[in-house]
């Protein structure tokens, strides 16, 4: 029996894999998507905090699949398996990937993010490089993603807001909690401009996806109305409807086999339920497994033609991994000291804060200097009940229980609400942030796990602290109590990019400007791996946009 040869085989069903599948299936090509996790449908999602937020159910058990994380201890790099530390680097391993669980606060990168080196110059110890494409190349795809994913928002002119080809968003902003009145006024009195956050959540019905129903539990949970613009809802379902998509869940890809020097022939796939191995053949292959795992798969695919890993003639595969730098802070709005709005309005559940600040995206100040800054998002503290109940239950180093605990919890839940900010600034690529194969540890399928060295650049902390101080002032102006802010050098594991840089020079990059491997003519990498620098915004919109762009290049090659 002849084995099926798909036009395109995609490894990973998240944001980028979804965008490629959507485009190619709609153009009539036969596509296979290989996803190691299972399928959870819209009607099967629930707001079960124990299952979704407190156990490894939508991510692999760390005893089965894990990473090793290298950190510097007393001058030595020490690798610790994540099953020892509990520090998971998985982000939603089900059909649709982590896009199922995002909060959906999306931003476009700024045109200057594409030319950071030219604009701001080199920084010692950082491997900053300009992108081989410009914002103008990507803008039509940002617009395409906005429409197809269903990003809601409202455009307001701002010096650091990237230009748009479409005047405003088709979907108006999601409903907002009255706290924005207090936040906007506080920003205004400090001379800061607060903007409406674009959000990958529908405010109006779109096809068979229903508008947001304001469940109060959005981030970390799957969406039960289809409002959230996950790859599963917005891309894979329409792709399946074409009849051209073969969606293979529970399919772990062990290796890509390049029988010839410049061509991948098949993927070696293990059925995660039965353990049975099979080959999935295709004319083109797209790796979209999330940055650190995409590099790992290519490294694990080494063979006699590619002794250092597939598409690694430059030796840069896995290098220049980046995360998002920054930090966060929080303050409590107390019933007895609330300004501008009524306490009942503040306590209304489900509605979004929807505010971001771009004022410090670029800093050019007579005293502070000229440097790249970042974005700030405002939001309520996550409304998970167990995790809120568990917070700060220590007094003078002792756990609080009994009557005192009851009083503390009731007060925390009924007399105040916490508002927080998150800062996103560039994680500068550097020589001590990369993924390689661990020489010792293997996952349950017998494949070497990814070893991640995750050191940040000191400049990142400087920028984060600069912005954090300004955000604390906003919380103070709002009248928040017990304000606490921290800027950390620890990488947020859900915001990862790089490892397969794109560029024009094959000696220092893995992919060309189309995100095709320099070394292998039928291999593309569509996820955030391509990014030489990450901008100072969450990656998701750029991942969607670039994957639509890559899909168009694949269409031309097919």
């Amino acid at each position: 029996m002849n084995e099926t040869v798909f036009d395109v085989v995609i490894v990973g069903s998240g944001a980028s894999g979804g965008a490629v599948a959507y485009t190619l299936c709609n153009a009539g090509y036969k596509v296979a998507v290989l996803e190691k996790g299972r399928l959870i449908n819209r009607e099967e999602f629930s707001k079960d905090e124990i299952a979704y937020a407190r156990r490894d159910i939508v991510t692999p058990s760390l005893f089965d699949e894990y990473h090793t994380i290298e950190e510097k201890v007393d001058g030595q790099w020490i690798a610790t398996p994540t099953y020892e530390s509990g520090w998971s680097f998985w982000n939603g391993n089900i059909v649709g990937g982590s896009s199922n669980f995002m909060s959906g606060m999306l931003h476009r990168m700024h045109p200057d993010d594409f030319r950071l080196k030219s604009k701001y110059g080199a920084i010692d110890g950082a491997n900053v490089a300009d992108w081989p494409i410009s914002y103008e190349d990507l803008e039509p795809y940002y617009a395409k993603a906005e429409e197809i994913i269903g990003i809601s928002g409202h455009f307001e002119a701002h010096p650091f807001e990237p230009p748009r080809s479409r005047k405003n968003f088709t979907q108006p902003p999601t409903k907002e909690n009255m706290v924005v009145k207090l936040l906007d006024k506080s920003c205004q009195s400090l001379g800061v401009k607060s903007l409406v956050t674009p959000r990958a959540v529908l405010s109006r019905d779109k096809g068979d996806r229903n508008a947001c129903y304001y469940s109060n539990f959005c981030g970390s949970y799957g969406c039960s109305s289809g409002a959230k613009g996950s790859a599963r809802e917005a891309l894979l379902k329409p792709a399946l409807a074409t009849g051209n998509l073969t969606l293979m869940s529970n399919s772990y890809v062990k290796k890509l086999h390049a029988g010839k020097k410049d061509e991948v022939e098949y993927a070696i796939v293990i059925d995660a339920i039965t353990g049975k191995e099979k080959k999935v053949r295709g004319r083109f292959f797209v790796v979209a497994a999330q940055a650190h795992e995409s590099a790992r798969l290519l490294l694990n695919s080494a063979n006699r033609h590619h002794p250092d890993g597939l598409a690694n003639s430059s030796g840069t595969l896995g290098k220049n991994l980046i995360f998002s730098a920054g930090g966060s802070g929080q303050g409590e709005l107390h019933k007895d000291a609330l300004k501008e709005i009524k306490f009942e309005e503040l306590m209304q559940t489900g509605l979004f804060v929807n505010r971001s600040i771009l004022d410090w995206y670029f800093i050019d100040h007579w005293w502070d200097g000229k440097f790249k800054g970042g974005l700030v998002e405002f939001m309520f503290e996550h409304q998970n009940i167990i995790s809120r109940a568990r917070k700060n239950n220590e007094e003078e180093g002792k756990l609080v229980w009994g009557k005192a605990l009851g009083e503390k919890l009731v007060k925390r839940f009924t007399l105040q609400k916490s508002i927080r900010f998150e800062i996103f600034n560039d994680w500068l690529p550097n020589d001590n942030c990369f993924v390689s194969l661990d020489p010792t540890y293997k996952d349950k399928y017998g494949m070497p796990v990814g070893k991640l060295r995750v050191e940040g650049h000191p400049h990142d902390l400087k920028v984060g602290n600069y912005i954090s101080k300004k955000c604390v002032k906003i919380l103070e102006e709002m009248g928040a109590k017990n304000i606490d802010a921290s800027v950390s050098a620890a990488p947020p594991q859900n915001l990862v990019a790089g490892g397969c840089r794109f560029g024009t020079d094959p000696s220092i990059s893995v992919l060309n400007a189309e995100c095709r491997a320099h070394d292998v003519k039928n291999l593309y990498v569509a996820d955030a791996s391509f990014m030489p620098t990450g901008g100072s915004v969450p990656y998701t919109w750029t991942i969607y946009a670039n994957a639509f762009r890559v899909a168009d290049h694949i269409l031309k090659a097919l």
């Binding site: 959870i40 099967e44 999602f45 629930s46 707001k47 079960d48 905090e49 124990i50 299952a51 979704y52 407190r54 156990r55 490894d56 159910i57 939508v58 058990s61 760390l62 005893f63 610790t80 099953y83 020892e84 530390s85 509990g86 129903y213 469940s215 109060n216 539990f217 949970y221 039960s224 409304q383 009940i385 167990i386 809120r388 109940a389 568990r390 239950n393 002792k398 756990l399 229980w401 009994g402 009557k403 605990l405 009851g406 009083e407 919890l409 009731v410 839940f413 009924t414």
Partner: protein
């Protein structure tokens, strides 16, 4: 810090064989040996007459056993829950469950002085809160009393099954 050493450091009795993976049956047996102690700790942390429902009325011990027995629970921490209870039994010469509330408070505060004890108590507190404030589908948070006490309710849709069993 490696988790395994984090879980072991500071224990008086050291690590017994329970830390090794065991069949569900033998785990059930190990749990039986410490059940009264764990129940007494939970009831001390969540007594009746506070602004929160009591441990006694919320089936939190059954919840704790069921949730740590589930395959989704970290097996090292599962063993630690048993070990830490044994440690408390040894420290208090098997008397903990029958102590007066005042004696229990003293015993737990003594236990808390070691980082091992603090870790274990924190774990029991967390597991108890998971039951009390998690979805009632897990058998605790009876009649949503936990949510009602905090005026905070889980979102819709609510789970029909535990642990996303489809």
């Amino acid at each position: 810090m490696k988790r395994r050493s984090f879980l072991i450091l500071g224990s008086l009795i050291g690590l017994s064989s329970t830390i090794k993976a065991k069949s569900p049956d033998s785990f059930g047996k190990s749990f039986k040996e410490v059940e009264a102690t764990i129940r007494a700790v939970q009831e001390h942390m969540f007594p009746s007459g506070t602004e929160l429902p009591s441990a006694r009325e919320m089936n939190v011990t059954k919840f704790l056993f069921e949730t740590i027995s589930d395959r989704t629970y970290d097996k090292d921490i599962r063993a630690f829950v048993i070990e830490g209870a044994k440690e408390l039994q040894v420290r208090e010469k098997g008397r903990f469950a029958s102590m007066s509330p005042r004696e229990k408070e003293k015993a737990l505060r003594r236990y808390e002085e070691s980082s091992y004890g603090q870790n274990w108590l924190s774990r029991i507190l967390t597991l108890t809160m998971e039951g009390m404030f998690g979805d009632p589908v897990y058998g605790s948070n009876v009649k949503e009393y936990g949510w009602k006490a905090l005026h905070a309710f889980g979102g819709q849709p609510r789970p029909k099954n535990r642990y996303i069993e489809l």
